[in-house]
Symmetry: C2
Subunit: 334 residues, 2 copies
């Protein structure tokens, strides 16, 4: 199997270019110049975010397919756009690669990245290739746009706002645990397979973020890259409030609950702090509840759960059967 | 000396935030949310580019200061903006860091990055931190803006256009050779010190790029990150022309010439293919020469040299005393 070092940088760039396709109308200049050129939409802000995928930290190549790794490298940045209510416009991909990476893996990584972008009308418009003596590092930059006054931030929450989370929690952490346990993928049932997929190939809640942003029904929003406890704490800190979450209300993924029960793990901890679920957490005024639920009903059947509220008193708490306990933090890198 | 792993991710982000300062008026939302928000200027395009700095490839930490490495991580992206004629607006910094990196080095890296940005009114508006088992990888995204019809590309060159290069060539390659030879920095004279500085702390020709872009005197432009031979070949390929460079006209840095002579190295090869000089190469129609030189005269005394021309016939050539020889490529990563 040939390695990328046998092809050379220019040939690799050509392979990316061929996969990226022709740029759409809002990209006067895509891949191939010193920089890409984008035409902003009138009346909108640019929203920009960057995220990293490191082999051995966010995925393990060899265990996770290169195609899924490429997908994940973009999905995490898309999730940040979703949390701002921004529609995707363009992506940049910056790769530091071990020279012995196989060409097939390189191609598959790009394919996974580009395929996810195409689904969201987000072309790959530029990037950079470098060699590294270490593991693969993919740095993705995503650029979106959002109409003035439709942007959602972390800091708009107010005491009394209800906290809502999309989808399910703990699935990505369970998926990682399933892989770490060396489980046979072919033997997993649908729910557990879904957990593994959430870890390897997460889906950003882009449509939901844009629809709720346009509805102006939410005071604040954050994506749950580092877990619900972390997300609630960040909204509270940025908004100058506290937060309380209800343990009984958390929409823990059924596969996560089962895998935790069968392995002695803590499904509640996964739901609170596992991270990588890439769901959205919203703070919504009680009087905006109807508008919010109405907006959510246009989000392709995505379930929503009310998991707590923002409080006047600072601090973030979990309310359980045994009373209130302070919430720990999410995944930390250092 | 404490390492970054002793501080934790959140404390590191706070250190970056403190260094980044308050965002200017065109940044409604800077560091601290899921994404940054930028207000585009009316009548302009966004110009976006991304670049990588890998420890051991582009710099060697320990030999080069962390502050210079941070400077260089941004300078290379600034150079891409310069080549498009774009004015800088905002930067993102994506860091994959070895956990044993010292806090002082982390701080110095950010300081170098931010200080260069401040000089060009380019605030750091966002980024990402991850751990890596490999060397430090810094991925920078630079966002600029350029008025419609003022953008310079690689593809606008025409046969007969004259090729002009700013500043001097070969200095960065000489600087790298000087460091690789283990030279005592304190014993280097001013010219050789300048070569080392060009390798470690390059200056993007931003002002020059913007002024020439506004003058509309150049058909095409590229920055010389991978050397003059590579830059000329890329303009020629993108423009559907050939190119010929005159060996006698190359503005080789005097320090590079001297160091090459004293070590048996090839200064011409450094000037042509050493890369990392971050000068600009322009293609200019002969009838626009006066306008071009006039624009350049407003570039703070930056010297300019006519080094060749674009040709009808494809292929890129070097014209020397012994006749024409085909030009090789620049630095390749793989």
């Amino acid at each position: 199997m040939p390695s990328i070092s046998s092809l050379g940088e220019q040939a690799l760039l050509e392979r990316i270019r061929a996969r990226a396709g022709a740029p759409p109308s809002w990209i006067p200049l895509g891949i191939g110049d010193d920089a890409a050129v984008l035409a902003p939409e009138r009346g909108t802000f640019d929203v920009v975010t960057t995220d990293t995928l490191v082999d051995g930290v966010h995925v393990r190549l060899g265990r996770t397919s290169a195609r899924d790794a490429g997908h994940k490298a973009l999905a995490t940045s898309l999730s940040d756009l979703a949390a701002m209510g921004a529609a995707p416009r363009a992506a940049l991909l910056n790769l530091a690669l071990p020279p012995d990476l196989e060409v097939d893996a390189f191609d598959a990584f790009i394919d996974g990245f580009v395929a996810l972008g195409e689904r969201h009308r987000m072309p790959l418009v530029g990037g950079n290739l470098s060699a590294t003596a270490g593991p693969l590092v993919a740095a993705t930059t995503a650029i979106g746009s959002v109409a003035h006054r439709r942007v959602m931030t972390r800091s708009g929450g107010r005491p009394g706002d209800e906290l809502y989370v999309t989808g399910t929690l703990g699935a990505a952490a369970a998926g990682l645990a399933i892989l770490d346990a060396g489980a046979d993928r072919a033997a997993l049932d649908a729910e557990l397979t879904e957990c593994v997929a959430r870890h390897e190939r997460p889906e950003a809640r882009l449509r939901c973020g844009v629809i709720v942003g346009r509805s102006r029904a939410a005071h604040a929003c954050i994506d749950l890259s580092d877990g619900l406890a972390d997300g609630a704490a960040r909204i509270a800190a940025a908004s100058g409030t506290g937060a309380i979450l209800e343990a009984a209300a958390l929409p823990t993924h059924p596969g996560a609950s089962r895998w935790a029960a069968s392995t002695g793990a803590d499904a509640l901890a996964w739901a609170l702090s596992g991270g990588e679920d890439y769901e959205l957490l919203f703070a919504v005024a009680p009087r905006a509840r109807r508008a919010f639920v109405g907006a959510l009903s246009r989000c392709q059947g995505l379930p929503i759960a009310r998991v707590g509220r923002l409080t006047q008193e600072p601090g973030t708490w979990l309310r359980g059967p045994a009373g209130d306990t302070p919430l720990g933090a999410g995944f930390v890198h250092f």
